[in-house]
C-alpha cells in the first residue's frame, strides 16, 4: 500500500491505496466521485478526463499515487458558489449531450482548451477535443457549445445565463 494525499474538488483526503490503482478508480471507488466515468481501457475515449494541478488529464492514465500532493478537480467540482460553470451551462443550452457518458470528460477537456485558447475557431475546437470520443452527438453541438462558452467567458461578458445548481435536480 502507498499513501496518497490529495485535494479533490476542494476537500483534502489521505488514503492508503494499492500502488497500481488508477486515479479514476480512486476517485470513483474510494471517494465516491462517480461523476467521472470510464469508457475504455486504452486512454482513447477521454470520458475520465479531470484536471490535475490545473491541467486536463485522462485519469485512467494516471496512478492515484502520481496525484500525491496534487489538486484534482472533477466534473463535480466545477460549479462554484451554486452556479454552473459557463461550459456546463453551454452544454445544456446547445444540446451538446445526449446519453451524457462522454459529457464529464468533454466538459473538463473543453475548460482546459479554453484556458489555453480563449477564442478558438471551429477547427481549433475540433482539434482540441480530439482525444474525447462521443458516439451520440456527431460533435457539432459540442463544438457550438464550447465556442458559445468562450464568448460568455470573455472578460466583460455578462454571466446572466448562469443558473443556480439545482440540488434536487430535474426540469429547467
Amino acid at each position: 500500500m502507498a499513501q496518497v494525499r490529495v485535494t479533490v474538488d476542494g476537500v483534502n483526503y489521505a488514503d492508503d491505496v494499492e500502488p497500481r490503482m488508477l486515479l479514476v478508480y480512486y476517485l470513483r471507488e474510494r471517494l465516491g466521485k462517480t461523476g467521472t466515468l470510464v469508457g475504455c481501457d486504452t486512454s482513447n475515449c477521454g470520458a475520465c478526463t479531470v484536471h490535475l494541478n490545473g491541467q486536463s488529464v485522462k485519469s485512467c492514465s494516471v496512478l492515484a499515487v502520481q496525484a500525491d500532493g496534487g489538486e484534482v478537480t472533477t466534473i463535480e467540482g466545477i460549479a462554484r458558489d451554486g452556479k454552473l460553470h459557463p461550459v456546463q451551462e453551454a452544454f445544456r443550452e446547445y444540446h451538446a449531450l445526449q446519453c451524457g457518458y462522454c459529457t464529464p470528460g468533454m466538459i473538463m477537456q473543453a475548460i482546459d482548451l479554453l484556458g489555453d485558447n480563449p477564442d478558438p475557431d471551429e477547427h481549433e475546437v475540433r482539434e482540441g477535443i480530439e482525444g474525447n470520443l462521443c458516439r451520440c452527438t456527431g460533435y457539432q453541438n459540442i463544438v457550438r457549445a464550447i465556442q458559445g462558452a468562450a464568448q460568455k467567458m470573455k472578460p466583460g461578458a455578462t454571466s446572466d445565463s448562469e443558473q443556480r445548481v439545482s440540488v434536487a435536480g430535474g426540469g429547467n
Binding site: 482513447n44 456546463q88 451520440c136 456527431g138
Partner: protein, 832 residues
C-alpha cells in the same frame, strides 16, 4: 394546493433545452457501474482466445487460491449447461438455431466466448485470478467466410445443425400478389434491347455499436424480489427473458435500467453475463456485479451489419425501373442474438425505397460463422437496404448516362400519389420527396458544385470533387403487433403509458419506453403539457424500472416517440375524460356543457371553471365527487400502431478526394429530412447529427476485422476507429414536414434517419469523384489506402508497393492493417 403558472403557448415544436441535462452536466449521474450495494461481489469472465476449439481441460486451482476469490465456476459447476440464451425471432418455421450457452462447456465458437467465471471481493481481484485459470483447447478450423461456409464440405460451426445456414427468408412480390415476378421481369429485360440490367455486389462490413458506456449489471438478491440493474435498452424484455431463460418467476424479478450511456441497438440483448450474475447472486446470496472493459465490449458485445449484397436492377433505357432483385448473405456470427436473425428482414421491405418498382424479390440466407454474433445496430436492416438501393440507383444512372438525381426523380413516388402501397405491400402514408429534394438541392448548390466538378475534371486537378446523393426512406415505429406476428417476431409492438395526477397538481407520466440519451423526458413532457394544459416543469417522466413502469416494450427502432408518444397522448385523453365528470359535478353542470382547453374546464357560455389541478386535488380529497366514478383521474393506455411511419429525406455530400494520397475529405453535407411533426427541434437536430456521424463512419472509418485465425484484430479503441471531432465537419441539416397520418401525433421517428441515409451518400460521392478514372467501386470503409489503390488499379498501375498505413484516423498501433489484408484488394472487376 399548489397553483402553478398557466401555460402560454404550445409546447410541441418548442426548442426546449433538456430536463435530463442538469444531472448529467454536473456529474450527478447514475450509470450502472456506480451502483455497488453493500457486500457486492464482482465477476470476471474468462474468455476463449480462440475462435473455434474444443475445451479439453480447465484448471482453476491457482485462481481459487488467489486473494479475495470466492469461487471459480464453469457451466457444469453452476448446473447451467442446458440453459440457452433466447433467440426470439424464428424467421422461418424450419430455421436452425443452436443453443447459445451462458458459458461454453465443450466447444467454443468465437474468440471472446466465456468459458469460466471468477467471483471475487473486488473487480481487480477477479480479473487477476482470471489470468490464473488454465484452459486447454484443441483448436478447430475457424469458419470465417460466408460463401465458403455454405459450400459443400465446409467445416460446421454447429455440427448438430448439419449446416451453417440458419435460414433463408424470401419475399417475392409475384407470389405475394403485391407486384409481378422480378425473376420474370429481369429475364425479359435481359432479352429486350430497349432495357438494361445492372448487377452489382456490395459489401456491408461488420461494425461495432460502440456505445460509450460499457455494459454492466448488478444483481441484488437481498430483497423479496431479485433486482437486476442493467445498462440495457430493454428492461421489460430483459425481465421477461430472465424468466424464460432461467425460470425465475417474472413476479420475482425487478429490472432497473438507470442512466444508460447509449445503446444504438447494442444494448438490445439478453447477455450471458447478466444471466451469470443472476445465477451467482442466487447461489451466493449476495449482490453480484459485472462491468465489462472496452476491449471485452468490442470483442464480445454483439456486432452489426455484415452482409454480402447481390443486387440486380432492371430498367427501360428511358430510365424507368422495372424490377429489383436482392440476394443477401447475412453473417449471424456464432449464435443467434435476441433478434439478430430478423435484422435483415427489417430491411427487406425497404430495398424498393421511394421508387415505384413493379416487381421485387428479396432473399436472405443467414449464415453461421465463428465470429462474434451480430444483432441490431442503429437502423438494423434499413441502412443495409438503403445503401444497396441508393448505390444501385447511381450505378444505373452511370450505365444510362443520366444525372443521378434526375433518374431518382423519374422513379420516385410523386407527392400526389400518397398514400402509396409499395411492391412490398406497405402503405406509405405521407411524404413529399420533391419538397425535401428541392430544399436540399438549393441549400447545397447542386448546380454550382456540378460545375466545379466539371472544371476540376477538365483541369485534371489533383483534388477531385464528387457529389453523393441519398434520397432515403425508412420504416419506423416498431410496430403494428399483427404485422410482427405475421413475421413470427417474438413479441408485439404496442407501447404502454400511465398518467398519475398528484394531489398538488403535478403530473407523473410513466412510459414503457426506455430512453437512454434520446431526450424523451423532455419531448414527452412537452406532449403532456399540451395535452393536459399543465406547465412543462410540472410533468415528470418515469421510466426504466419495472416496478414503476410495469408494462412496456422499451426503446429501439425509432419507436419511442411514434409508438410511446401516442400511448401517453391516449392516457392524457382518458385523464381529461375522467376529469370532465368531476368538473361537471363540481360546477353543477351537465358533462355535455363542459369544455376543456389550456388546462381549464369551463361551463359553456359561462365564466365558471376549474383548473385541472383543482380537479386533481378534488379527486384526491374525494370529499365530493360524482356517484358513478372512482375517485381518481389516473389513467393507463396501451397503443398499438396501425402502420409504420416512413420518414424520408434528401442527403447530399460534397466529397473531395486527393487523388495523389487517396485521402477523402467530406467538404459539405446537406440534408433535409421529413420526420413529420417535430416535437422538439433542438433534440431532433441532435439526433440527426449523431445519426449522420455513425452513418458517415461506416462509409469512411469503421470496420471490425478478423484475421485468418478468427481473431478480432481491432478489439480496442486504438484500432476500432470511431470518428473524433477532428474527423467530421459541421453538417447543414434542416427539416420539412408532411405529418404522418399513421399516428395521432403526426410524428415519424428520427433516431435512425441520419445513419440510414448518410452511408450511401458518402460512398456515391467518393465514386462520383473518381468515375472518370474508371473506378467503379470501393469497399467500405473507403479509407485513403483503398481509394489510392482503386485509383492506381484503374490506371493500370501495380499496387504492390503498400503505402504507409493510413487506414483511418487514430490508428497506427495495430500490428497489421486490418482493412487491407492482401486477399481483399478490390479491383474494379471484382467490384462489380
Amino acid at each position: 394546493m399548489t397553483t402553478t403558472a398557466e401555460p402560454t403557448t404550445l409546447e410541441v415544436g418548442k426548442a426546449r433545452v433538456r430536463k435530463e441535462d442538469q444531472r448529467l452536466i454536473t456529474g450527478r449521474s447514475r450509470y450502472t457501474d456506480a451502483i455497488t450495494p453493500p457486500g457486492t461481489l464482482h465477476i470476471h469472465v474468462v474468455r476463449s482466445p480462440l475462435a473455434h476449439a474444443t475445451i479439453t481441460g480447465i484448471d482453476s486451482t491457482a485462481a481459487k487460491a488467489a486473494p479475495g476469490v470466492i469461487g471459480v465456476y464453469t457451466a457444469a459447476d453452476l448446473g447451467i449447461e442446458a440453459v440457452g440464451l433466447p433467440a426470439a425471432w424464428p424467421i422461418t418455421p424450419d430455421w436452425k438455431a443452436p443453443q447459445r450457452p451462458v458459458l461454453a462447456s465443450s466447444t467454443v465458437h468465437f474468440a471472446g466466448e466465456g468459458v469460466a467465471v471468477v467471483v471475487a471481493r473486488s473487480a481487480a481481484e477477479a480479473r487477476d485470478a482470471g489470468d490464473l485459470v488454465e484452459v486447454d483447447y484443441d483448436p478447430l478450423e475457424p469458419v470465417l467466410d460466408m460463401e465458403a461456409a455454405l459450400a459443400e464440405g465446409a467445416t460446421l460451426v454447429h455440427p448438430d445443425l448439419g449446416t451453417n445456414e440458419n435460414a433463408t427468408w424470401v419475399f417475392d412480390s409475384g407470389e405475394a400478389g403485391t407486384g409481378s415476378s422480378a425473376t420474370d421481369a429481369v429475364a425479359a429485360a435481359e432479352a429486350d434491347p430497349d432495357a438494361i440490367v445492372v448487377k452489382r455486389r456490395f459489401r456491408q462490413q461488420r461494425l461495432i455499436p460502440a456505445f460509450m458506456e460499457p455494459r454492466s449489471c448488478v444483481v441484488d438478491p437481498t430483497g423479496e424480489q431479485l433486482t437486476i440493474y442493467a445498462a440495457t435498452q430493454i428492461p421489460h424484455i430483459l425481465r421477461t427473458m430472465t424468466t424464460v431463460t432461467l425460470g425465475v418467476p417474472e413476479s420475482k424479478v425487478r429490472v432497473i435500467a438507470p442512466d444508460v450511456g447509449g445503446g444504438f441497438g447494442g444494448k438490445i440483448a439478453v447477455l450471458p453475463e447478466e444471466m451469470l450474475c443472476v445465477t451467482l447472486a442466487q447461489k451466493l446470496g449476495r449482490p453480484v456485479k459485472w462491468t465489462e472493459t472496452r476491449s471485452e465490449s468490442l470483442l464480445a458485445a454483439h456486432h452489426g451489419r455484415d452482409q454480402i449484397q447481390d443486387i440486380t436492377v432492371a430498367a427501360r433505357k428511358d430510365g424507368t425501373v422495372l424490377a429489383l432483385d436482392v440476394k443477401l448473405l447475412a453473417d449471424m456470427g456464432a449464435y443467434l442474438g435476441l433478434v439478430g436473425a430478423g435484422v435483415p428482414i427489417l430491411g427487406a421491405f425497404m430495398f424498393n425505397a421511394i421508387y415505384k418498382f413493379p416487381a421485387y424479390r428479396f432473399s436472405c440466407t443467414n449464415v453461421f460463422t465463428t465470429k462474434t454474433l451480430t444483432d441490431a445496430y442503429r437502423g438494423a436492416g434499413r441502412p443495409e437496404a438503403t445503401f444497396a438501393i441508393e448505390r444501385i440507383m447511381d450505378e444505373l444512372a452511370v450505365e444510362l448516362d443520366r444525372d443521378p438525381m434526375e433518374l431518382r426523380q423519374q422513379n420516385w413516388i410523386k407527392h400526389e400519389e400518397f398514400p402509396f402501397t409499395t411492391v412490398c405491400g406497405l402503405t406509405y402514408d405521407t411524404g413529399n420527396y420533391e419538397q425535401a429534394t428541392e430544399h436540399a438541392v438549393a441549400t447545397f448548390d447542386y448546380a454550382g458544385l456540378r460545375r466545379e466538378q466539371e472544371q476540376r475534371r477538365a483541369s485534371n486537378d489533383p483534388v477531385q470533387l464528387g457529389i453523393g446523393i441519398s434520397t432515403f426512406t425508412e420504416m419506423c415505429g416498431l410496430a403494428p403487433s399483427r404485422v410482427l406476428g405475421s413475421l413470427s417476431y417474438g413479441a408485439g409492438g404496442w407501447e404502454a403509458a400511465s398518467i398519475r395526477m398528484l394531489a398538488t397538481g403535478k403530473v407523473e407520466v410513466i412510459t414503457g419506453t426506455s430512453p437512454h440519451g434520446q431526450g424523451l423526458e423532455t419531448a414527452f413532457s412537452q406532449i403532456v403539457a399540451d395535452q393536459l394544459g399543465v406547465p412543462f416543469e410540472d410533468v415528470e417522466i418515469l421510466h426504466g424500472d419495472t416496478q414503476i413502469s410495469p408494462k412496456g416494450l422499451d426503446t429501439y427502432g425509432s419507436r419511442s416517440l411514434s409508438v410511446g408518444g401516442p400511448a401517453i397522448m391516449m392516457a392524457a385523453q382518458k385523464v381529461i375524460a375522467k376529469a370532465k365528470k368531476f368538473a361537471a359535478h363540481l360546477l353543477e353542470a351537465s358533462e355535455d356543457d363542459i369544455e376543456f382547453a389550456n388546462g381549464q374546464f369551463t361551463v359553456r357560455g359561462t365564466d365558471k371553471g376549474k383548473a385541472i389541478q383543482e380537479i386533481a386535488f378534488a379527486a384526491f380529497m374525494a370529499h365530493d365527487y360524482p356517484d358513478d366514478v372512482e375517485p381518481s383521474l389516473d389513467s393507463d393506455a396501451v397503443y398499438d400502431p396501425d402502420n409504420f411511419s416512413f420518414p424520408h429525406g434528401t442527403h447530399l455530400a460534397a466529397i473531395e478526394v486527393d487523388t495523389e494520397t487517396g485521402r477523402v475529405n467530406l467538404r459539405k453535407y446537406v440534408c433535409v429530412d421529413d420526420i413529420g411533426v417535430v416535437v422538439n427541434p433542438l433534440i431532433a437536430e441532435g439526433q440527426v447529427h449523431g445519426g449522420l456521424a455513425q452513418g458517415i463512419a461506416q462509409a469512411l472509418f469503421e470496420e471490425a476485422n478478423y484475421d485468418e485465425q478468427g481473431t478480432l484484430v481491432n478489439g480496442t479503441f486504438v484500432d476500432y476507429t470511431l470518428p473524433s471531432a477532428a474527423d467530421l465537419p459541421s453538417f447543414d441539416t434542416d427539416t420539412v414536414s408532411t405529418p404522418s397520418t399513421s399516428n395521432p401525433l403526426g410524428v415519424k421517428g428520427v433516431g435512425e434517419a441520419g445513419t440510414i441515409a448518410s452511408t450511401p451518400a458518402i460512398v456515391n460521392g467518393v465514386l462520383d469523384a473518381l468515375r472518370h478514372f474508371g473506378v467503379t467501386d470501393i469497399q467500405m470503409p473507403t479509407t485513403s489506402q483503398r481509394v489510392w489503390r482503386a485509383i492506381q488499379e484503374a490506371k493500370g498501375r501495380s499496387t504492390q508497393e503498400t503505402p504507409v498505413d493510413t487506414h483511418s484516423p487514430g490508428a497506427g498501433l495495430g500490428s497489421i492493417d486490418p482493412n487491407n489484408p492482401p486477399q481483399e484488394i478490390v479491383t474494379p472487376e471484382e467490384g462489380q
